[in-house]
Symmetry: C2
Subunit: 344 residues, 2 copies
Amino acid sequence: MTIQRPKRASISDVARHAGVAVGTVSNVLNRPAVVAPATRERVLAAIEELSFVPSGAARQLRAGTITTVGAILLDIRNPFFTDVARGIEDRLARDDHTLMLASSDDDPAREAKYLRLFEEHGVVGMLVVPTTPDLSHLRQIQRRGVRVVLLDVPSSVAEISSVSVNDLAGGELAARHLLSLGHTRLTFLNGPHTIRQCVDRRAGVDAAVRAAGLDPHEVVTEVTVTSLDANGGDAAMRALVGEAGRPPAAVFCVNDLVALGVQRALRHLGGTELLTSVSIVGYDDIDIAAELAVPLTSIRQPTHEMGLRAADLLLRGEVGGAVEHVVFQPELVVRASTSGRPGV
Amino acid sequence: MTIQRPKRASISDVARHAGVAVGTVSNVLNRPAVVAPATRERVLAAIEELSFVPSGAARQLRAGTITTVGAILLDIRNPFFTDVARGIEDRLARDDHTLMLASSDDDPAREAKYLRLFEEHGVVGMLVVPTTPDLSHLRQIQRRGVRVVLLDVPSSVAEISSVSVNDLAGGELAARHLLSLGHTRLTFLNGPHTIRQCVDRRAGVDAAVRAAGLDPHEVVTEVTVTSLDANGGDAAMRALVGEAGRPPAAVFCVNDLVALGVQRALRHLGGTELLTSVSIVGYDDIDIAAELAVPLTSIRQPTHEMGLRAADLLLRGEVGGAVEHVVFQPELVVRASTSGRPGV
DNA sequence: GTCCTCGCATGGATCGATTCATTCGACGCT
DNA sequence: AGCGTCGAATGAATCGATCCATGCGAGGAC
């Protein structure tokens, strides 16, 4: 009663079956032109018959290189990141490379796990949205010959190529918009300051406030959400309303999912009336921002384009080649959550 | 002017550096207990110093097995699938396995590409949402010793384990609900009948109609959308309105993204008034269904649970072991898009 | 007829890990 | 002193591909 474990056919099985040498089979696979047509046919028939699939492990071990790229994103459920992933995939497909996707959930341990997995797998390179400001582990990996491109991280990091959006400008756009509506106090539901984007968006907010001749310390209230998704925004807004008895008049959320949570909390606490009494600005302009009960004003980032460029940098970049930083500009998209609402 | 390609340290480099044999280094890595503490320390120091990362390719080649599982989903941008992916990941993490994600976009060629990539990479198994009803290629892969579990495919397929939701019941729930509101004609924006889910949901719709004593041929109009996302729904609804001059009174959409597109089209064509004049039911109950301008009635599927179970089947399943089919039941979630709307 | 060239096929060396039979040395026991 | 035991380290064989120097036979030039 042996368990019948099917053994994969190897290249030498194929060679034997076709009556040729292993080297010839390898040539059929990799340089068909140098093999005589008759032989080639015979080998291909044998491959077919044994349903032979070459071992990627063996190929990689000997030949060194493969055509896989890894990407580690913060949250696979956030449309912002899946849009970027799509851009990456589109660019890779053009060079017949393939993408392995993973989600770190902003957990450095998970990030490390996947970095290691990808490196052991021998990927050509990785695209990473880092979970920590300390990038020394990524530089290490790069030194070992793996190409690394940072995603969504400002260009202040000198040694590794990156693609990002100007978060300072994004924060500025949002705050300037809210101020222009007449608000004199802003509440910023931000992520932790260990995340660079959050720091930069805050700096942008402050810059806009100062440009309006006001003092950020008096105008801006920053609240740190517990998670960068709808639940985080929901909880934060409930806490705010719980403290003050009423919600802040103007809220800027560090991403659209948080804004979604804020809207949900407001609706649950006081219905549409309460919801429409608050000006809300989100960030990322995900697909559904326009379809919400109260369509969301948001800061749009060129996600697909970012993915394209990032993959492009990675594919074209030599190891140890020139470091390049691409910075895209964000854009304000005004919708009902800050204007044109009934009663405002 | 040679390009300085950093060469990865190998296990024999480590051995030399630590003054031990390669076998000893391997033991430190895999069975630390059998190595004397002093030696172990020395080896670990050498590993650290050379920043040695073992080659997954070599390990896999010799040892045969690794701890990676592949998943091929239809559309990485559809929250339904990313929720499932999250469930998969959670279950895999418990066994220290990791997930490689890919998106086939319902394109058989892309599916084939990733199937091959995963197989060459020597994954333990794969979780696949198949793009075609013909599953012979998957059975082939299975025969070669790779575990395969189907996702979101009904249990009618005998040879491969699967996890799915009862789509017939889902279609029935949706149609029965619309009929109970008094509608006598239903428009079903469905996907192509090459997709099993679409066929089943249609069958469910027909069953509900018949159960109400009506004739499906007279009651149900089926329209095939060009793509299973918001754009597909948008285009289909515009076409319908273009033909008849007004939208159908009751619409059932094969997924929530399509329903989203329908809502968008209606709003653009006739504002909130037109939108609220149509009863709309979606499918999947994605996060944002509740947050839309007109919160969407939908059929909920236990996505996370599906991912968990699928991964569980894969990890526990022996090659050639028992085939198991898990079928979950869907659930109707009623929201404003079919009830409680002002003026209805 | 001899010598070259050229196209095609060959088979051994190699990549970097794991595995296991073997060796080595220290120690305890009689 | 001799023997057996046992823990620890060794190093060669192995996995399945690629790469490359080599072999070989046919055909052309002189």
